[in-house]
């Protein structure tokens, strides 16, 4: 049977290429075509802001959703995304977030109360400052117009004196090339994909800022989910574990490829100066710019507890991944299954 899966990401986005497309193919093959997802990309079926609601309504049976687009619907996931500043390791963030979303009651209910079934997250690579000029020192950054994704990045920008500008992704390239914007806090895959900033970039300051993980690689419609057979759900669990491992490995490779390409193209790869790194460390040590207050203001009663729980999951995954081969898809898949997906009951998860 054919089902729709909606993502607002472009066909050539790493998440589309490494996760959604091969995942849908594998699920279809292993279920003998009984669960065949047609992937609608680039918002062709649902606009970015409407994806979660659309999946809940059954416009699509599955979808990719970013929590930032619906801050009022996903208060916990929006507030807790800042935690990546403390643990700026994409693989750790992606796997810990997935465990948090699938197995932590608070982490799961943020999605469940929107009538969708959560099935795993992702994490972008870490963020750096990609700039149209050479930005070497903290002083260079001060007063620069920097495109910040919001949240902790914007608050960190305030502490180091950058000017946050809001530019939609469709306009970054022009804004960059014309100098309307000086820098963007982004992961380096944007050099050659997405905004394709390589041609208009002069330097990359590799200060490691937390990656973005506050989203779901997969959410599903409740009715659709409950009509699946347990063994079909089991297949989806297993393929999701594999897709997640593959995605994060692919992201790591892409980062290396982009940095190499940038170097080859003569871009300055600038390690963070000591004063900038100190500012970052201080920002994190001071509670990530008032993260706790923001969570409380969003009306999340047990925010401190959730922060504490996700933080310890991140520590746990730091430990697990320190011992693992981070380039082996099989090994990471097994790890994800052992720690998370195999623990889910295919005849119960998401069904109450």
């Amino acid at each position: 049977e054919n089902y729709s899966f909606s993502t607002w990401l472009e066909p050539n986005h790493p998440i589309t290429l490494a996760a959604h497309v091969p995942w849908a193919k594998a699920v279809s093959e292993r279920t003998g075509g009984a669960v065949n997802f047609e992937i609608y990309m680039a918002g062709a079926l649902l606009p970015a802001k409407g994806t979660m609601q659309g999946v809940a309504d059954g416009v699509a049976q599955g979808g990719f959703h970013t929590a930032t687009y619906t801050p009022s619907e996903l208060p916990l996931w929006n507030a807790i995304g800042d935690l990546s500043f403390k643990h700026p390791d994409p693989m750790v963030a992606a796997f810990a977030a997935t465990e948090f979303g699938l197995m932590n009651p608070a982490g799961n209910s943020d999605w469940a109360k929107n009538d969708v079934i959560y099935l795993g997250s992702y994490s972008t690579p870490v963020y750096h400052f990609i700039c149209r000029e050479e930005v070497k020192t903290l002083a260079d950054l001060r007063g620069k117009r920097v495109r910040m994704p919001g949240g902790a990045w914007a608050r960190f920008g305030e502490t180091i004196g950058t000017v946050s500008v809001n530019v939609p992704s469709s306009e970054i390239y022009t804004a960059f090339e014309r100098g309307t914007v000086d820098c963007t806090a982004s992961d380096v895959t944007h050099l050659t994909a997405g905004a394709t900033l390589m041609g208009v970039t002069k330097s990359i300051n590799t200060l490691t800022m937390g990656p973005f993980f506050a989203g779901a690689t997969w959410i599903f419609n409740k009715d659709f989910w409950s009509e699946l057979k347990p063994d079909q759900r089991k297949i989806i669990f297993e393929e999701s574990a594999r897709a997640l491992a593959r995605l994060q490995i692919s992201y790591d490779e892409l980062v290396q490829k982009n940095l190499d390409a940038a170097k080859a193209a003569g871009k300055a790869i600038i390690p963070p100066p000591a004063d900038l790194q100190q500012s970052y460390d201080k920002f994190v040590a001071d509670g990530i710019g008032g993260m706790a207050d923001i969570g409380k203001r969003a009306g999340i009663q047990t925010f401190d507890k959730s922060v504490q729980e996700l933080s310890s999951l991140m520590q746990k995954w730091e430990g697990l991944l320190a011992k693992a081969n981070r380039k082996s898809e099989d090994e990471l898949t097994q790890l994800l299954r052992r720690e998370i997906y195999d623990k889910l009951d295919a005849s119960k998860y998401g069904l109450n």
């Binding site: 929006n78 117009r145 910040m148 919001g150 000017v163 809001n166 939609p168």
Partner: protein, 180 residues
């Protein structure tokens, strides 16, 4: 500007007032964006929330508040090359089908967007960005626009059915569109 519908000047004035609000939104949009450009370029200090307010408020108001007036003055873009060649009875039937569909479509949209607006209000919907902007109030513009447009469609429908507006609906339309 289009000529006011001769019947019911009070209705025309009310709908013009809504359009006036849309006009104010356009002027504010212009000033807001220009202020942002100026502050960004000259003082390196953008007006925070410009993107969210322009898209979340001004655009929504500019598009949906004039809608009832557009329907009242019959300015929506139509193709009447086939229509004007139809026999009279068929014309009446077509006008009634068209107006009934219009009432249904706008009515359905008003209903759903009303539910959405109430939900957004209940959740205190905000837009993320460097600044957090409350955006739920603009959600209510949609049910207002669609709802009034639907009611106006119903008025036209009755007018054609009973006869008090029939003749004006059977002739060719004066094309006086302002847009593309």
């Amino acid at each position: 500007m289009a000529e006011p519908n001769p019947t019911l000047p009070g209705v025309t004035r009310l709908l013009q007032a809504l359009t006036t609000i849309a006009g104010v939104a356009l002027v504010l949009m212009m000033l807001h964006i220009c202020a942002d450009v100026f502050m960004k370029y000259v003082f390196n200090s953008p007006v925070q929330g410009t993107l969210e307010i322009v898209s979340g408020y001004y655009m929504v108001i500019a598009v949906y508040l004039p809608l009832p007036l557009v329907e009242w003055l019959r300015q929506a873009i139509v193709v009447d090359v086939v229509f004007i060649r139809m026999p009279r009875a068929m014309k009446i039937a077509c006008v009634l089908i068209v107006l009934a569909s219009l009432v249904a479509v706008y009515g359905a949209f008003a209903w759903q967007t009303w539910l959405d607006a109430m939900r957004a209000y209940g959740r205190n919907e905000i837009a993320m960005g460097p600044a957090q902007t409350v955006i739920w109030p603009a959600r209510f513009v949609l049910p207002i626009g669609f709802g009034l447009a639907s009611v106006i469609g119903l008025w036209h429908f009755m007018g054609v059915l009973i006869g008090f507006e029939r003749e004006s609906w059977l002739g060719a339309l004066d094309i006086e569109h302002t847009g593309e």
